[in-house]
């Protein structure tokens, strides 16, 4: 492995990490803030991807996909939330039901099983062209366009969430996840807050789906498969390195960093050639598992030390 391939792989991971970070943030909002896992994520991601690609295929401008894909995601989140809160169906099952339904809806939206659009219609095209015109190597220009677009979108998402979750409204959402009985007793409409939370997390996921579809130059009904575990791995890696008592803003930034670390790990293993890309999913599962076990491992190691000192 030369220094050059190493650097290229880091650039690639940075771009991937930034583009997938919103998914990890969406998972954070439901899993950590509402303390309820949301399995709609995979369906929503594919939905966002399919919406964006179909729109581009039919000649829409990429900016409009950045609006319509999150709206599609929000609608999916709303569906899950209504099934969960109004029909009192378990949250996990609600998510699975919506994901299942989205499969057909995606086929209907595309009108076929897979769809693509010309490269120059993608959100990355203008930046890439600019970079190439300034003399950058074409492959590097492509990688950098991912990084720049990913960073801009991520900054907007994190800023929006930072403001939302620091208002009384955001605080009431956090209270609903933290102590529903207390939230209810001070008059917070807890069902309403659960619905809002799912709308927000799925809108963000839909947006990520739209971006990743353009990075992968296409979408199909399986675009969302595996995204949940990728996002979870990124989230838990980020949480391991997050300082204690961190504010929401710091947490969100560390989740993005976790996403970058996750993709770096995967790509470093792959470029060494030890494993073929077929093993990516297994690697992801192991990474997520390792990250999930980390707090317990750390505790076990520290406990041992404390005993030794005694």
């Amino acid at each position: 492995m030369t220094a050059n391939t190493f650097l290229t792989s880091i650039y690639g991971s940075l771009g991937q990490g930034l583009l997938y970070a919103p998914v990890a943030i969406g998972i954070y909002l439901s899993l950590r803030i509402m303390k309820k896992p949301d399995l709609t994520i995979e369906g929503t991601f594919a939905f966002g991807a399919v919406i964006a690609m179909t729109m581009l295929h039919h000649g829409a401008h990429f900016m409009t996909t950045l609006i319509v894909a999150p709206i599609g995601g929000a609608a999916a989140g709303l569906a899950t939330a209504l099934i969960h809160t109004k029909l009192k169906i378990d949250g996990i099952i609600s998510g699975l039901l919506v994901t299942m339904a989205l499969f057909s809806i995606n086929l209907f939206v595309m009108g076929r099983s897979t769809i693509s659009a010309p490269l120059d219609t993608f959100i990355f095209a203008p930046i890439r062209a600019q970079l190439a015109a300034s003399g950058m190597q074409s492959f590097h220009a492509l990688l950098w366009s991912y990084i720049i677009v990913g960073a801009i979108v991520l900054v907007v998402v994190i800023a929006a969430l930072y403001f939302l979750y620091n208002t009384l409204f955001g605080l009431s959402i956090r209270a609903t996840g933290d102590n529903e009985r207390m939230a209810c007793s001070i008059g917070i409409n807890t069902d309403g807050r659960k619905i809002c939370s799912l709308i927000v997390s799925n809108a963000i996921t839909g947006l990520a789906g739209a971006l990743v579809a353009q990075q992968q130059s296409g979408a199909n009904v399986n675009s969302g498969t595996g995204v949940l575990i990728i996002g979870l791995a990124a989230l838990v890696i980020g949480e391991i390195i997050t300082p204690k008592n961190a504010s929401i803003l710091t947490r969100l930034l560390f989740i993005a960093l976790g996403s970058f670390i996750y993709f770096s790990c995967i790509s470093l293993v792959l470029i060494t050639g030890i494993l073929s890309p077929d093993w990516t999913r297994l690697l992801t599962a192991l990474l997520a598992l390792l990250a999930l076990c980390m707090p317990k491992l750390r505790e076990a190691i520290f406990k041992k030390r404390a005993v030794e000192i005694k």
Binding site: L168, N179, S185, I186, G187, I188
Partner: protein
């Protein structure tokens, strides 16, 4: 003025009907502090659950300052009534800081939703209020509520409940889970907070001497009915021993 007229509540599991509250009528004038005692199944908690809307399908009429509370929305009722529970874990959000918990309680019933949650002037106000208790809580505003002890949580919960004067404060054996020393301290703080703002208060207690020592009026419930209702000198003259005999009668 809190007024209950012929309030009845029946638990019906389809097989048998259990009349937990039997045509209860009670008027609590503005600013009165009522203590409620009664054995298990007397209907004390049901009474609170009916008043604050946790239980529905209750017959009768409950009004607060003339407003029918059985037929108002959940959030409108929460703006009028504050309740402190026995379990210290129910009153605060452990993952939120003390300041955030207080900010939520401070906006109870108003919900200016998109206002910044923690504002400088609010922080100063919260600090000032917490400092009154000499528990060092004022220096913990930015700490998570999970770090508070049970007693500290109940104090913070009480303060949250009274930050904005409620029309009615319901205390549901709020010192029962604390050790005797802390319980006494929390009762002292309760009295201070209630007296300061002359809050209309109903307190359920299992502690006979507390029930006599605190409040202006004492009510004993048995099987969903008021079996004793004393105030003033008559209440002051009561002894725990007397109450226990009544209790067992």
């Amino acid at each position: 003025m809190i007024s209950l007229k012929n309030v009845s509540h029946v638990f019906d599991n389809g097989v048998e009907k259990n009349h937990v509250l039997k045509s209860l009528t009670l008027d609590v004038p503005e600013g009165q502090f009522v203590t409620v005692i009664g054995g298990n199944g007397a209907g004390k908690s049901t009474l609170f659950n009916v008043i604050d809307g946790n239980l529905r399908h209750t017959s009768g009429l409950i009004t607060i300052d003339g407003k029918d509370v059985l037929r108002t929305s959940h959030s409108a009722r929460a703006a009028l009534i504050a309740r402190v529970f026995q379990d210290p874990n129910t009153g605060v959000c452990p993952e939120l800081t003390i300041a955030e918990n207080m900010a939520l309680a401070y906006s109870r019933g108003k919900w200016p939703l998109f206002q910044w949650a923690i504002r400088k002037k609010d922080i100063a106000f919260f600090k000032e209020r917490l400092a009154e208790f000499d528990l060092g809580l004022e220096n913990m505003l930015r700490k998570k509520a999970a770090l508070l002890s049970g007693g500290q949580r109940q104090v913070v919960t009480l303060l949250m409940a009274t930050l904005q004067k409620p029309k009615l404060l319901l205390l549901d054996e709020h010192t029962a889970a604390l050790d005797p020393k802390i319980a006494r301290q929390v009762m002292g703080i309760t009295k201070k907070l209630v007296d300061e703002q002359k809050i209309t208060t109903i307190m359920i207690s299992h502690n006979m001497s507390d029930a006599i020592a605190y409040g202006d009026r004492l009510i004993m419930l048995n099987l969903g009915e008021i079996v004793m209702d004393v105030q003033g000198r008559e209440k002051q003259a009561l002894t725990p021993a007397e109450l226990i005999t009544k209790f067992e009668a």
